[in-house]
Symmetry: C2
Subunit: 200 residues, 2 copies
Amino acid sequence: MTAKVALATSNEGKRAELAPLLEDLDIELVLPDSNLMNEIEEPGLTFIENALIKARAVSAHTQLPAIADDSGLSVNALGGKPGIHSARYAGSPSNAARNNEKLLAALSEVPDEERKASFQCVLVYLRQSDDPVPLVGVGSWAGEILREPRGTQGFGYDPLFFVPGLNRTAAELSTVEKNGISHRARAAEQLLKKLKDDFR
Amino acid sequence: MTAKVALATSNEGKRAELAPLLEDLDIELVLPDSNLMNEIEEPGLTFIENALIKARAVSAHTQLPAIADDSGLSVNALGGKPGIHSARYAGSPSNAARNNEKLLAALSEVPDEERKASFQCVLVYLRQSDDPVPLVGVGSWAGEILREPRGTQGFGYDPLFFVPGLNRTAAELSTVEKNGISHRARAAEQLLKKLKDDFR
């Protein structure tokens, strides 16, 4: 029997990436109301705590197991910022264009060789809202911050995130390409291994 | 240079087990004042959240990186209890003898074949108190709950935790033996792999 699992995100981009990554499992992803997601505060100080807060709220509301993602961009020259504040870096509600502008401004004086950054992703799975032993997958993706956006795919900081090995930004990769190497792909891979014991 | 790392526990048993497990690293473990540890509340709903809360408090107080352990016993017939409440199952302050008595009472009617349980351990490492990407190790250890305590080593629920493969309880194992197979050993092994990038 196909099990229902709630996916605790209202971010279209995350949803579009996660769905194929979780395709191997015999689960039906249920999307919670975006109003619910907007109401969830994220007071955690780590990606994993914020992911757990989101998964727990959605699991309590839907009475289903829940998967949540928390992710962000960590820029070396900014001491790891915007980090857990990536989505709302330029204020609330989250706006990718304004976030990218703020990032470019913050790095305007930073020379090319000091623009290293990484995307971080934590995925969690709670069997129920009070599950004390969540399954966790983590992943990171190394790159550099450009001086202007390139590409139209992906979401968030993708147009500024240049991947030297590919000579392209994350926004110049198709979802399939991005899903081969991204922080989210690696986190999903780890989570998937652990979920397979539960779901097939 | 040997780096100092605070170990966020006032539990002698955990300390005695963790020190040799972390011996491979070029770090000096610093033990915080037990008053500080007693003051830290653990409102988290998962082992990992409670471990992060402890590590964060100790890192903020000592201005050092911090390692914390959160662990507990999950009993199948009790729906996973005492779980994150293992240390204070029979009330505060933590008392192993009273916890064991309460567990035996709760399982008095449960037949032998339904007394399966597991120890769970999460170890976290925070580079600083606001580190958004902690290193995490998790481990579990499967066993069964006896009807009376056996053995004098270890701590906590060890005298009731029977390991079928060894035909002994956790309290009948030396620290060296326990450290070969326990939940804490596996979590430490995972954390160690990740820490080695930072410390040697």
